[in-house]
Amino acid sequence: MSVPQIRLKVDGFRAVATANIIIDGITVVAGENGSGKSTVSKLLYYLFKTACNYDVLVANELRNDLDEIFIFLSIAVSELYAVDDSEIRNELREQLHNLKNQKQVSQEQMERWRHFIAQVQQTYMATADKNDKRYSRLKRRWVYILKDILREDSKETQNADIESDSVLFAKIEELLESHFKTAMGKVNARPASLFETALSGVFPEGILPGHLEVQEYDEPIYSKDKSSLSIPFSIQNVIYTDTPMVIGKDGTEVDYWNDLNELLRKKSRPPFSNLSQIISKDVIKGDVSIDESPSGRAFLYKRADGMTFDLQDCATGIKSFAILQLLLNNGELNDKTLLIIDEPEVHLHPQWIVEYARIIVMLNKHLGVKFFIASHDPDFVGAIRYISEKEGNLDKVNYYLADKSTKDYMYNYQHLGVDIDPIFKSFNRALERIDLYGA
């Protein structure tokens, strides 16, 4: 029996009583509403998002931490240089913005910031030396700002003689160094706390799973006993979609929606795969692309007869396939991708549900894309099963059924292998309801 690429184990978290889930190709979970399927989706998404983008996330954190220093230096630059020094002032502003926009966590980057602070300090000291009238005004205000940045209620800050000119800038430099060293430490050590912090922002009650472990080839990449988060190999990018309605909606409060839209906007890279052409010719009878005009932000659907529409105005079912086509065309779907999809069947006619399942099987077969899919639909569940069998990749398919636990409102995830009859048994309860209410 081969070792699975990825295994997620979680116990006693939200609606999940026990789950031991393999992702080795296509994993499909079925179960009642409220059985924890989206919880599992989110655990997977945030784990791999953190693990695969650790350095970038730390760099973003550092950038946020440097915000107040940036604002202080912006104030310093705008107030230190008089109107007739506007050329120098603009050059310094540009330097400062470049510093802020560079997402590097490194000694070199820290030195660049220190050099900038030294430049500003030099000008400030020259102002004091000249007995410039601006000096006392600037200094008074800056001391207050600095105390605020350093959190003036700390004893250390109260005792420090910030009033002294040399201490003023030394404190800024100290703070800068502290942020950089923390960030560099995180990049080296990869503490798992970064993932745990992300999770605590996702689940409203802020409670984290008591037991959670994610393994790659049976070795933990994350567990509560492990202080660091390993770099995964078999998954290097993760995408999560729970509704096609989100396409083109930027700046939402849901970060995996924003992440998805950012990916969808990446430039497409021809030549396009056969699978993209199958979507165009066999299903949506058209192509989806990004409006590449300078002011364009829209996604476009060009129908086979040449008519072009804003994708926002198109049927939601077309948007479902549009997401797959855009990701295919811009190269985001490959053998290191985990694509997490909640309820792909929503908004799709039964015929298109089967077409969607077919595309998923082909993406796994030909590109090695890995899937974690939650579904309520008999046609989708059956189509994945039988199309995979016909295409010869049934050995990569795993089904799970969320079954009621003895604990109220909690579910055990049963591994079914490729036996989908138990899932149909749960679906058939709907027929019993029709017989009850309608016979």
């Binding site: 059956g382 009859d421 679906f427 058939n428 017989d435 016979a439």
Partner: protein, 174 residues
């Protein structure tokens, strides 16, 4: 699924179609074996020597007698009695299916029902529910598929999927 009808061996073996074609009376296990080329059902199932009527054989014989083409028919029938009534239960075996998605068609099922009812006219009343028997590992998918053919729950009451075990419990007292 509660009812009072039970398999009636004598009424089955004394049926007029059997008198006309004695070879149509076969062991239930034999007809299962013939229809289960993939060995999805472990035998023996009917350990009391229960016999049933091979409806395909009856239809073939009748068609020859009438000089016509064969109609489709269900696989077997057996008599039941209860509540002072007698009925003929018609059963179609789908035991050799590897999946229910292919080859299971509503028009095919309905033609078999119709052909069977026709060949048994002037006989004991046909039981109002027709049974389609699938292997255990496909039964839920079969229920789901047949629900697509018969979305009306009242109609679904007359066309039921079941496993061999369920049929045994329903009519044979196992």
């Amino acid at each position: 699924m509660e009812h009072s009808f039970r398999y009636a061996e004598k009424i089955t073996s004394d049926n007029i179609v059997v008198k006309d074609l004695p070879a149509c009376l076969v062991d239930f296990d034999t007809i299962i074996s013939t229809n289960d080329s993939n060995n999805n059902v472990a035998l023996p199932q009917f350990v009391n020597g229960e016999t049933v009527v091979d409806l395909d054989a009856i239809e073939a014989h009748k068609a020859q007698q009438d000089g016509r083409n064969r109609n489709k028919s269900m696989d077997l029938m057996f008599a039941v009695e209860g509540d002072n009534e007698q009925h003929l239960v018609l059963v179609e075996l789908k035991l050799n299916y590897l999946d229910v998605r292919r080859n299971l068609r509503q028009d095919d099922l309905e033609e078999k029902v119709e052909g069977s009812v026709l060949v048994l006219q002037n006989n004991i009343a046909v039981y109002p529910t027709f049974y389609f028997i699938f292997a255990n590992h496909l039964i839920e998918q079969a229920i789901n598929k047949l629900s697509r053919f018969y979305p009306d729950p009242k109609v679904r009451q007359t066309r039921k999927t079941a496993t061999i075990e369920e049929l045994k419990t329903l009519f044979f007292g196992y």
